[in-house]
Symmetry: C3
Subunit: 173 residues, 3 copies
Amino acid sequence: MAPIILVTGGARSGKSSHAEARTRAFPGERIYLATSRVYDDEMRDRIDRHIADRGAGWTTIEEPVNLPAVLDQTDGRGPRLVDCLTLWLSNLMLDGRDWEPAAQCLIETLSRQTSPVILVSNEVGMGIVPENALARAFRDAQGWLNQRVAVIADEVQFVVAGLPLQVKGPPQL
Amino acid sequence: MAPIILVTGGARSGKSSHAEARTRAFPGERIYLATSRVYDDEMRDRIDRHIADRGAGWTTIEEPVNLPAVLDQTDGRGPRLVDCLTLWLSNLMLDGRDWEPAAQCLIETLSRQTSPVILVSNEVGMGIVPENALARAFRDAQGWLNQRVAVIADEVQFVVAGLPLQVKGPPQL
Amino acid sequence: MAPIILVTGGARSGKSSHAEARTRAFPGERIYLATSRVYDDEMRDRIDRHIADRGAGWTTIEEPVNLPAVLDQTDGRGPRLVDCLTLWLSNLMLDGRDWEPAAQCLIETLSRQTSPVILVSNEVGMGIVPENALARAFRDAQGWLNQRVAVIADEVQFVVAGLPLQVKGPPQL
């Protein structure tokens, strides 16, 4: 089976850059699966800048919700970088969808991939308990999802100040 | 002396499951010290579910405040899992009690235990400074308590996505 | 070149104590660079207590904004403990200054130091996305600054419950 790599950390901790570097190390077509929703021109510009920053050699697919389907469709072509699970989960919850079966479907989909998948996710549970009920539900769901992905992942990295701590898998050089 | 193990991490990081696994590895009666307060039927149901999830072989004691006394009373019977220090501290502060002598008493009590104690606690200080003054006081107290327990602990684990990083004590297999 | 050490972690995680211990291990005059602003008598008392706590053998310099200049002025005298980057960045942003060139200037200044610099900084991006726009901008800036300092640092420690995890540099005994 192809490796599944989970890259987690705080906001602006350097998760995406690290995940990109890991993705580049695999052969084949590099596919960037962007889960962010484009709400306005500012966000459109930001995404376009990110695409330009990654440079040539990447295929970008924008899919805010049907992530498992896109993983199955792109399997066999090369490594897929999912950026990020936090936005995907947030899209599901803001749409009022039942996120648990969707998360279960994602886990099953990941388990059958033959090309690598590198997933970026956020740590959101190390602050004070949020007063907002949806925020509390979200941080519970995010923590649960990170644990579930970590179980099937071959490697898990926790990124601090741009530096990856290996929490699962063989030590990195 | 019996080992003292501190298991810390964010919300839904898998701290409790890891702490349960560590507790199961010790011989003797397994005692679960629940510090949560039961405010309503929903919470009662949730606690009863947790008790059922742990399965047979656990004695559950609910004690939101007098944790040191219960530790002394149960010493000698087997490993005690304290879940969690964050709720205990929160109960003290919401009651308007002076938490510092209570925390000092807990440290002294832990130091004299002859049966193992596994303590679950939360990381709450890695978000933006809270606007609420009580929340700021709480995160300061929680950080201080975690440091104090860590000083006397034989092992400290920081759990990320269900995976324990050993921050004190011998490397785990 | 003299070592640059970044000590990061949550609020009340024991970052400052660890950074002080690292600073004490270097020869020469120990210089404490406090970046906090003194808004009132309570803060003045708190700072004076901190100065007393550190004991003799420290020179304290209070500088909330012009950190690079003070680093250059004190170079050659001994190790400098900067406590902390989070307050420095916060001062810049609350003043409405353009923090990016200031951060760039800090990085360049650090790179030319001949005496050690130990920098304390906070992890602020592991909670729920803040509703406040300035708080979001701040956590982005803080994450970016931590990454930039980590690139040029010889060592980076992430402190949990008073215990340093080495994320960059040789393993610590």
